[in-house]
Subunit: 353 residues, 4 copies
């Protein structure tokens, strides 16, 4: 395989750190630059002692983020920056021919107006929106392969979209009245020094937030609308739970066809199983659970896997979808690496197992 | 105030232990007997060192549970036993004129058939079902006052019923398509030596269980049906989260009247506020949150309070109710003590603040 | 009992919040003022929703801390401020005849030089050092009764001093080569927005810090020297563990008299038991564990108790002392209230059980 | 490299599960059998869904443990069994020429009498004691290379021995009056359904246990005695802390040569640094921390690394050693795989990075 030089801009947050981990061990990517205003001048090994066993981590120093250096050093640049800031790097880097994988929200939406509505400022580079590919490999693999700018999905959206999209495409469920109730570990809030995310404030606490209009709603609805072929509005309720990593999502949805007996239910069960099998049967990172098993964050944390299960309720006629993922891996950095693998023509699981 | 002698049958589980704590400090109740097959012969202070500062805890020995002693020792008996077993004590004790407050599920349902459907064995004492009062003080205070047998509600049902019942009674919400998504701390599983509840299995894990037909569904639907005046079926999804105590419940419900503009939403907001104020304005243990505050288990743990908040979503037309309680107190032992206070004519907050 | 008006300066940290909780429920103290620069103008109930059931919490507004108001409003003022700042209030308040209970380190040391050595700035009010009483009720009850300025002990010192002082006074252990290895919950770090205390940084992490010269060492050595009647130097190693509250301390000490057989060990065991019984037998908040029981933070959290146990090791000739306390209660606010009760002539357990 | 067939007897506990994880991804070892009475007949993927992405995990079924099959299937057998039981397999397997790596305590001690003293039953196979090699690669690499039976060290012993042995061998510290104060995550207690290890009993709890004579003391003293060339007795105090994995050890030790000024301290610092560098400078899994860094379990969890740091205290003249490891990896299964790599002539880090 050809190797490529990669850089990470904003490598000091949780997603950035996870990217560092994945890229240090990647068989084909060579990590050549990591930037951080805060840590500039120090080595990776100094800031993240747990990577100290990698020779590279002892040599590589954090640098100030400078576009004019990055475009010479790297073939591919990952942006692990706040929204609004990412675009400042994406514009000149893509212009310079560097492939960009952006983990922020800056290029996930197709519509400037929706961006403005949900992020409360004008889009910093609307001209790029049409070129960006929403980096959900299971859905957009072909587009990712050709992309120069990948907008890697948010953690919540990944956990909601992967269970729903196949069923919408197969016409098995209605696109109206979908509810997604999500539980996230605290790393989802980032490595920010805020009282709300102190140990004592989060431990022994479970709480909702951002109800009813969290920012991730915008990209979830956009992608569900794409899948359904019509405008989709959903209910989305995030909650914070005291785990480091992981998202557990419970989705309530109405089957397209009503079932009112066991035979009808069993038939629908088969159709769902078939739909998932056809959609994800050969996906390396989607695990459709069978039998009595239900998703559990502890079974996916530290991996790029998403677990998906479903239950039909004969008493209510409703379908319940359940998913679990590691918010920093499948929900962020692992998925970004998966996109890189696709863009580079490497085996899609490289560095991810 | 007149004091009364009280006993606890099955005082070694988490609810039993919490009852012990509350009753040791109760100003009017005198704890005269605690039973436990496992700990018979040992003092409360030996088994629960944290109560050792109570003189009573050093004197009081666990005894074998024997009806023929209990009915002589105590005026009121709390049963903190598994379902099926509680009835064995409730029958002779109520016959002997002892008031019984049962924390198990044995007397919560009015219908033998529903009991059989959800608990998979015949009801052990169907003749008592008609006499038992469902012990939700905010709803059934009058009936509790006269009761000889109180069926204290389950932890999940309390967290679902208290937010919903007033809105159903006021006709503000539809009784169809209600969804309750609940997150419970691990003490809800009881002090049982099972691998599933080991620290390592629960810590850093979030998982659903009992979907779609958990036992508590039966009493939730019964009580919602009473409030709505018609048969109610709901979706109920419990999840296990790594906290010791607390339940956080998110309920999705459709307003009776559709709103499609801000004015309509604001009007409904007012109606809900008024409904809650009229229903719970003078309730000592219900806290309706205002402004931006949302329920958080850490604000109610260790207390008999339930926090309730709501949000209207103009994008979906849906109403979201949120509640937080301590599963062992408002969801179990505290609520049982609240019922006792009512039955005895004591101030309802006695021993609970 | 006569009631007294009390105020808290700096009521927004964890110790301050715990003081609020204790004083809101105190039978004789009337909380008349709480200050916080950050929250000035808001009510207690707004900032701490869990106190909202107290009528007082709905009326009482946080105010800016102003000495000239405090000395008119309150008979007793608690200072829950950083070291260095507390003295700014203590000087004018004591001058104005207000009794002051200081939870900071400002008045715990008798020596300006030691203060300078450990706190790295000159003492802001050395003239008060001679008047302050070290507020460990079990040791200095008589002095506290007459005090106008109480320096309430640190959380670690309380957990180290209470097990050791009686044995040193009885001459049962050597004052040389003492080692105290301590484990603290994260609330000990205060409600500070620092990355080190974020949930994700503390959860699933155990780490030492401040080794070998933590600030609390200074007051531990001062008080041990007082008890031993000679200069004592000890080894003190704090560690951070992922619990909200609690300190577990393990102390290694050499018995004064060597024992080398079971009979000698048993004799020493008796002497230690007797020494503790005579010292703490009637103490309301010290629990000497017997039999096989060992201290566990979960048995004291939420209370003003300290649990103490000991073990002799016939293989090494060493004595091991173990203690557990709630760092915010017996280690801070509860102990401060205990001192207030003594100063006011109220039952020492008032508001603490 | 030549590959080898390996089996795990007792693969359902935490160490066994971790061994499965490591061996499924090992480049040269082929996992051919896993036994478990409880899970016999089910596949690895069914019991441990998180391994389901490994093709091997879907094929490999747990079997009943039978020596007569194992010795035909495997070149190397790992025993992850309780003490006493492991010997039943080790005897016939070694006789049959199979290499055995035992994770239990059965072959760690050289003395039957010490085994009897600490494990309270006669040694089941004393004739093998002389042949077993204590599997601490950093210390006994040469012996492991030739071993037919490796007794892989306990988790606590690894964390105590690796910091101490080089200093004892270099004569830098005294072998008397050593104290090891250790904090372990709950997985150290195994996957046993006992109330003491339930989530609710461990969460928000820190507690000592097994003081002063825990079983691991025996192998610690044996190996320290070997290193010191004389009989060593130490103080060893284990504590349980609410983390899944990790051991943090604090060791108090007296330098051989007294230092009483900064120059003397600095010189000793240099000697210690040199001693560790010479002993561990080329060790792949030992990380000697420099500068201000102190060990933190979160920096080693999930890896085979041990972090070591030290501090000299000029006030007490004492040396404090600190170490952190993952109890299930460097403290158990990772170390066992490290031994296997040595025995097989594979790169020592194979499958461990």
């Amino acid at each position: 395989m050809n190797s490529r030089k990669v850089a990470i801009v904003g490598a000091s947050g949780y997603s950035g750190e996870e990217l560092v981990r994945l890229l240090l061990s990647h068989p084909y990517a060579e990590l050549v630059a990591v930037t951080s205003r805060q840590y500039a001048g120090q080595t990776l090994a100094q800031i993240f002692p747990k990577f100290a066993n990698h020779a590279r981590a002892k040599e590589l120093h954090f640098s100030e983020p400078k576009v004019e250096l990055l475009d010479k050093q790297a073939d591919i640049v990952f942006l692990a920056l706040p929204h609004g800031v990412a675009a400042e790097f994406a514009v000149p880097l893509t212009k310079a021919g560097v492939q960009v994988i952006d983990l922020s929200a800056d290029f996930r939406l197709r519509s400037e107006a929706v961006y403005m509505e949900f992020y409360a400022h004008e889009h910093p580079a609307p001209e790029l929106l049409a070129h960006a590919v929403y980096g959900l490999p299971e859905i957009n693999r072909k587009e990712i392969r050709e992309a120069s700018l990948v907008a890697s999905p948010g953690c919540y959206p990944t956990s909601v979209l992967l269970p729903l999209i196949p069923l919408l495409k197969c016409g098995l469920v209605k696109s109206t009245s979908i509810i997604a109730d999500c539980l996230s570990g605290v790393s989802g809030a980032g490595r920010k020094a805020e009282v709300d995310y102190l140990f004592v404030e989060c431990n022994e606490s479970v709480r909702p937030y951002g109800i009813p209009k969290h920012r991730h709603l915008s990209e979830i609805e956009q992608e569900l609308s794409n899948a359904a072929g019509c405008d989709v509005r959903i209910q989305f309720s995030p909650h914070l739970v005291p785990i480091n990593r992981g998202i557990l999502t419970t989705i309530y949805v109405a089957p397209e066809k009503h079932f009112d007996d066991l035979a009808g239910m069993e038939k629908l069960n088969q159709q769902i199983a078939t739909c998932y099998k056809e959609s994800y049967g050969s996906e390396p990172f989607v695990r459709i659970l069978e039998g009595k098993a239900l998703p559990d964050t502890k079974n996916v944390v530290g991996t790029n896997f998403i677990e998906i299960a479903w239950r039909l309720d004969i008493r209510t006629g409703r379908l319940i979808l359940l998913s679990a993922e590691d918010n920093l891996i499948k929900g962020a950095s692992g998925q970004a690496v998966q996109s890189m693998n696709i863009m580079c023509g490497w085996p899609e699981t490289s560095g991810l197992c």
